[in-house]
């Protein structure tokens, strides 16, 4: 359980912020609870609130959600390596909780070897519980909390940085990280929307894969 605390700490302010925004956009607390339970995807929920406030149609909100969350297909594929031959009901339940944060944390733990699927599921579910709680709380009391208190905004970036360090196991991974950062920032500046995450990840992974193959062949 202790493993999940960086995620929970990170979700708390983000969830509160979402709750406050949703409340300002006219969503009642029960609608926010319903959304956090049924969708459980931070960035898509933020976009949904903004789109609802601007009077967008259901279809444009659903399409945007699909595009924004397609990146999880990549994470789900990477997790499949560690969940070989697992019961389909377990996978179905587990898939619900795959977010950027739970993916990064579980992947790092699986890589280091001291991890199993039940612990991974606990991380997913704890993160989900904190998310539901904090978003609903945000609609009720969020406006009383000062912005940026205790540096809590930095919990998620801080966690990403550390998990990135855990993953750097050979020079090829360092190369992947540098390539991804470079492509991501360029993509982010040039192309609107959220495609930079999926675009830069696939490009950087493919480039590193080809470079590794080339280097191995030369040896």
């Amino acid at each position: 359980m202790a493993a999940a605390w960086p995620i929970c700490l990170g979700y708390f302010p983000v969830g509160l912020a979402l709750g406050v925004l949703a409340n300002q956009a006219g969503l009642p607390w029960w609608a926010v609870a319903l959304m956090s339970i049924l969708v459980f995807a931070g960035s898509a929920q933020f976009i949904c609130v903004v789109l609802l406030a601007s009077g967008a149609t259901i279809w444009s909100i659903v399409t945007t959600t699909l595009v924004v969350n397609l990146r999880h297909a990549l994470m789900s594929s990477a997790l499949a390596i560690y969940l070989q031959k697992t019961n389909r009901w377990f996978l179905t339940f587990f898939a619900y909780g795959i977010t950027d944060e739970s993916f990064a944390l579980n992947m790092a733990r699986f890589c280091s070897g001291d991890w199993d699927r039940w612990r991974a599921l606990v991380v997913n579910q704890l993160a989900n519980a904190v998310w539901i709680f904090s978003t609903v709380l945000g609609t009720l009391v969020g406006q009383f909390i000062p912005k940026g208190a205790f540096g809590i905004d930095y919990a998620l970036p801080g966690m990403f940085i550390c998990l990135l360090v855990f993953q750097l196991q050979s020079r090829f991974f360092i190369l992947t990280g540098i390539l991804a950062a470079f492509i991501s920032i360029l993509w982010y500046l040039l192309i609107p929307g959220d495609s930079y995450i999926i675009g830069a990840s696939i490009s950087a992974a493919t480039l590193s894969f080809l470079i590794k193959r080339y280097v191995r062949r030369k040896q």
């Binding site: 605390w5 700490l9 969503l27 319903l34 959304m35 049924l38 969708v39 459980f40 898509a44 609802l52 259901i58 959600t65 969350n69 990146r71 990549l74 994470m75 789900s76 594929s77 990477a78 499949a80 390596i81 969940l83 070989q84 996978l91 898939a95 619900y96 993916f103 990064a104 890589c111 205790f150 540096g151 905004d153 930095y154 919990a155 970036p157 801080g158 940085i161 550390c162 998990l163 990135l164 360090v165 750097l168 991974f173 992947t176 990280g177 991804a180 950062a181 492509i183 991501s184 920032i185 982010y188 500046l189 930079y196 995450i197 830069a200 990840s201 950087a204 992974a205 493919t206 590794k212």
Partner: protein, 107 residues
């Protein structure tokens, strides 16, 4: 919007969120993965983390323009060094938060 309107919207959003998280896992975990795919997928976690972080650290997210003087970048370099030295997730998150908080107070 009334209850059924919200329910319909969130059910559809939930569906398009769940399917990309679910299908690859269900399909790939019951298949023997070829070596090249395992190799390629091993690069995905680093690539995703780095892609997520780069704009947070190097760009102004409101105007979507390059900004390499953000305090977040300075804190990130310190937290990166701390993470490399200690390999402690909790410690790194804690140090990052304290630095971010202090920098917010003094600057």
């Amino acid at each position: 919007m009334n209850f059924s309107g919200y329910l319909l919207l969130f059910l559809l959003m939930g569906l398009v969120t769940f399917v990309p998280r679910w299908l690859p896992l269900l399909y790939l975990s019951h298949k023997h993965l070829p070596q090249w795919l395992t190799d390629w997928l091993s690069f995905i976690p680093v690539a995703i983390l780095s892609s997520l972080l780069a704009p947070i650290l190097l760009a102004d997210t409101t105007t979507r323009s390059l900004n390499i003087t953000k305090p977040e970048l300075l804190i990130a370099l310190s937290t990166l060094l701390f993470a490399l030295k200690t390999k402690s997730l909790g410690g790194t998150v804690f140090v990052g938060m304290i630095l971010h908080w202090l920098l917010g107070i003094f600057f």
